[in-house]
């Protein structure tokens, strides 16, 4: 499996910063649905010893992370924004009411520079969905702001027990969009 291969690459600084911050804050498991820009984060997490779980749907990632958090471990969920709709029921019926503080690392599609019309409506609804759930979200567009934002989101999740999201904007390196 490529993500467990030590030789696999984590090409961008911002990906390494996210992985390092998750690791430093005690995240030991990451559940994800694959995305090109998440690969580098996951490769580095794997190198740091994080348990990686590639699951079949985004709501599985939320459920899995909630189980980890209920059991006293720290986990994060990573997926593309197009899958947020799949995760709404798990967020609304589990993560939020049980105050489990799930960190969401969401790779944005359907926004600046998006060429696929089918991605655009899904991109528009990300922030409104999260707002409606009471989940704060923070867009990062530059590598030099990633560390501070991720650290702050993890504090919201693990200390205040509020789920929160980091939105990876298309301006970051490694995007398929032509921003």
């Amino acid at each position: 499996m490529i993500l467990e291969n030590d030789a696999a690459e984590c090409p961008h600084d911002w990906q390494q910063i996210i992985a390092a911050t998750l690791h430093e804050r005690g995240v030991t498991a990451a559940a994800y649905v694959p995305d090109t820009r998440l690969d580098g984060i996951l490769v580095r997490l794997g190198q740091l010893g994080t348990s990686l779980r590639s699951l079949s749907r985004e709501e599985e990632c939320i459920g899995y992370a909630c189980g980890q958090l209920m059991a006293g471990a720290r986990a994060a969920a990573l997926f593309q924004s197009s899958g947020l709709g799949n995760a709404v029921n798990a967020l609304a019926g589990l993560a939020v009411p049980y105050r489990l503080g799930v960190p969401l690392i969401i790779s944005m599609r359907g926004t600046l520079g998006e060429a696929n019309p089918s991605q655009i409506p899904g991109g528009r609804i990300v922030v409104p969905i999260l707002d409606a759930l009471g989940i704060q979200s923070f867009m990062v567009r530059r590598a030099d702001e990633v560390g501070q934002v991720v650290a702050g989101v993890l504090t919201l999740c693990f200390d205040a027990h509020e789920s929160a999201a980091v939105l990876l904007g298309p301006e970051l390196e490694g995007c398929r969009e032509r921003a």
Binding site: S51, E60, G63, C66, Q68, M70, G93, P97, R99
Partner: protein, 187 residues
């Protein structure tokens, strides 16, 4: 069997196991059978109980974890059978309360009941068996490897216990207290 019979048998046979129950019938049956014991009861998020149970199982590799789920619930998360097969948690067993109806919404029939054993077996990793009695539950628990899936036929009607509408904060605190106690016992 009714749903509560299944939960009672599981608790008797696996008294130290940690249970994760799906919303509706499963949570109500487990609440009744365990007298509101410190388990992870879901009150919503249909389809999330099995992934949550796998998260608990991975986080607590020394513990035995049981996912007690309805058949309608598992229909919503059948992809998890692939995930279980991929990662093979050796401390997780899935027990499906197979009554063929959506209990919490009024007893409407599943369009195609059953089939969970065949689906699990087709993946080649999950040990699976269909049972229709408490003795069958006992034999399956004793004989199946892990991860395992038991499809328990529930053919007696009736709501199995108290309301499945749990207080999430109370569930979280009780469950974490139990998990912390388990950790202290291992130190």
């Amino acid at each position: 069997m009714n749903a509560r019979d299944v939960a009672v048998a599981l608790l008797r046979l696996m008294p130290d196991s940690i249970f994760v129950s799906s919303l509706g019938t499963a949570t109500s049956a487990l609440r009744a059978a365990s007298h509101d014991g410190p388990h992870f009861y879901l009150g919503g998020a249909m389809g999330s109980a099995l992934p949550a149970a796998m998260g608990v199982a991975d986080a607590l590799p020394q513990a035995s974890v049981v996912a007690l789920v309805g058949d309608g619930e598992l229909l919503m998360s059948t992809g998890m059978l692939w995930s279980l097969s991929a990662y093979r948690p050796r401390n997780l067993i899935v027990v499906v309360l197979a009554n063929g109806v959506y209990g919490i919404t009024g007893g409407q029939p599943l369009p195609l009941p059953g089939g969970f054993v065949q689906a699990a077996e087709s993946l080649g990793v999950i040990a699976a068996r269909r049972v229709a009695s408490e003795e069958g539950v006992r034999e399956a628990l004793a004989e199946l490897g892990r991860p395992a899936l038991i499809e328990a036929k529930v053919d007696q009607d009736g709501w199995p216990g108290p309301s499945p509408f749990v207080d999430p904060a109370a569930v979280r605190v009780a469950f974490r207290t139990r998990v912390d106690a388990l950790a202290e016992r291992r130190v």
